[in-house]
Symmetry: C2
Subunit: 313 residues, 2 copies
């Protein structure tokens, strides 16, 4: 099959959801345009913004960093070492190699040094690993961005991630979470920086194809803590529908965004952590670390305290 | 494994979504209660109402008729022969045998005699078979019920059917269809009788188990016209999720019903047929057959006219 764009080279990537197939060069053009359109559509950031890109060592976040550099944005990478034996070491290696080849040095936060490696933090706080990981990551995204003057934090969530989350929220009618699901979450208070998902228009398959064709070396294993994650079940169900009815995912998400209107403007972020709920409208400073919080003590410091107590037992 | 209710007989039906397993007798009790609760919850009908049960010859509608008789309701069956070679003949046989064994005689509408057998009607009107079938069935449900004094028409849609439809409507954000999706659609004008789905709480697996254990003989083949029906894709996707997370379907539908509040009250039925849209609030009489319609001529008569023209070409 010939590339449907240049009608010259052989097609390498088949995209039924776009009724198309591209050779590598034309696929790069397509992918770049999708990401540009994703940024433009909701004004995620512009060329004057320094962007902090959260990289895990997986394909989506490294592809995100790569394409943002290619599009000419000023970026730095933030790697949070989760302290998961083996997996975290292999992930960190991939991030360092990727960055090194581009003459970059990522900012590294080591959760072992911070006293909250995820496996231990989950065990001692008796919380679910993915939930603890979310709390800790959000904390450092904000802290690093605020302390180093980044107005915006970008993550590698793609269309498959966002639609799986949307399906899960709809199946359980979590209306309050739906309100918070958007490619752009504006700054919601001092030290709670803007969060964006520039890859929201591209599918997992498209991201994987981009990574492969660009020769990006990433960690292919899933996080060992998230093996049973329900989001994988929703992804599988949507893949089944997408296969029979190509384009469903994209229509599903775009239809949602149309109905959901503009992103959640300012004010209090709902559903970002049940424990942060004390009814305040504006964040205050955490009594322990000074980070912005809606409670007396921030979720991270409460977690650290639980981990400390667990250790003392 | 022992039955979890009587703790005596061997369990025959495993129901992970209810964290339970029942012997045949206890399963009948369970099933009966689910249907009773489904009727009671939205006051679908009461013991004074004569119920017109639409039976296709498939398991769901025959199980519905069976359980309503068993619960002591006054029922009659309505069989619409779609005029599909082979399939319709086998379906009719099953319906007649089922009814005969219970000393009943179903009301039969033969679409060949009415001039609109589905395959021909679809071909000549250049419409999709399932859409034509829906128009014709709705027409006769109303006509037979109204002319014979039934206040309510019951169909055999189960939880799997309703959640598949709900998922499809959500994936495409058909908000106007969501408004019409409820186990109870009240009478919406003279001759447009109340429609109910008493099996909305029971799954396809539960209905099949009830039919099997009761020895109900039904047509097992799918309608040959609906082989590619998208609803089957949605069902498959939901089955995949249900298998990993039992109870999801039920929570999904009940969560929807809670949010969707009370059933669509009176007035104009939205989404019942695009062609009926002429902005009227109350139905008028079809200029051809006198049936209630929101247009000048009802959808059925317009279909018949198209079929007639097709034949004349």
């Amino acid at each position: 099959m010939k590339c449907k764009r240049c009608r010259n080279a052989a097609a390498a990537v088949d995209l039924p959801s776009h009724h198309s197939a591209f050779c590598p060069d034309c696929f790069f053009v397509f992918f770049r345009r999708q990401v540009e359109e994703g940024i433009r559509k909701f004004s995620l950031f512009d060329s004057r913004d320094r962007v902090l890109v959260c990289v895990s060592g997986g394909k989506d976040s490294l592809v995100l960093w790569d394409i943002l550099m290619e599009l000419g944005y000023e970026t730095e990478g933030l790697y949070i070492d989760l302290g998961i034996d083996g997996y975290s070491d292999r992930s960190r290696e991939k991030v360092l190699a990727f960055a090194g080849a581009r003459e970059k040095e990522p900012i590294v936060v080591d959760l072992r040094r911070e006293g909250v490696p995820i496996p231990e933090a989950a065990r001692k706080s008796r919380k679910e690993e993915c939930s603890v990981c979310g709390t800790v990551k959000r904390y450092f995204f904000n802290r690093v961005a605020a302390s180093r003057g980044f107005p915006v934090v970008a993550t590698g969530h793609n269309l498959d991630d966002e639609t799986a989350r949307l399906l899960g929220n709809l199946l359980h009618w979590h209306r309050e979470h739906l309100e918070r699901q958007h490619p752009l979450l504006p700054e919601s208070g001092e030290g709670l920086v803007r969060k964006v998902k520039p890859l929201w228009r591209v599918s997992e398959l498209e991201t994987a194809a981009y990574g492969f064709l660009k020769g990006i070396d990433y960690v292919t294993e899933e996080c060992p803590m998230s093996e049973d994650a329900t989001s994988l079940v929703y992804k599988e169900a949507l893949s089944l529908i997408e296969e029979k009815m190509p384009g469903t995912r994209s229509k599903f998400y775009q239809g949602f965004l149309r109905g959901n209107g503009k992103p959640h403007e300012g004010g209090r972020g709902k559903g970002t952590g049940r424990n942060e709920a004390e009814g305040r409208e504006e964040p205050v400073h955490c009594s322990v670390c000074g980070a912005p919080t809606y409670a007396e003590t921030c979720a991270f410091c409460r977690l650290k305290e639980m981990v400390g107590k667990g250790a003392a037992r």
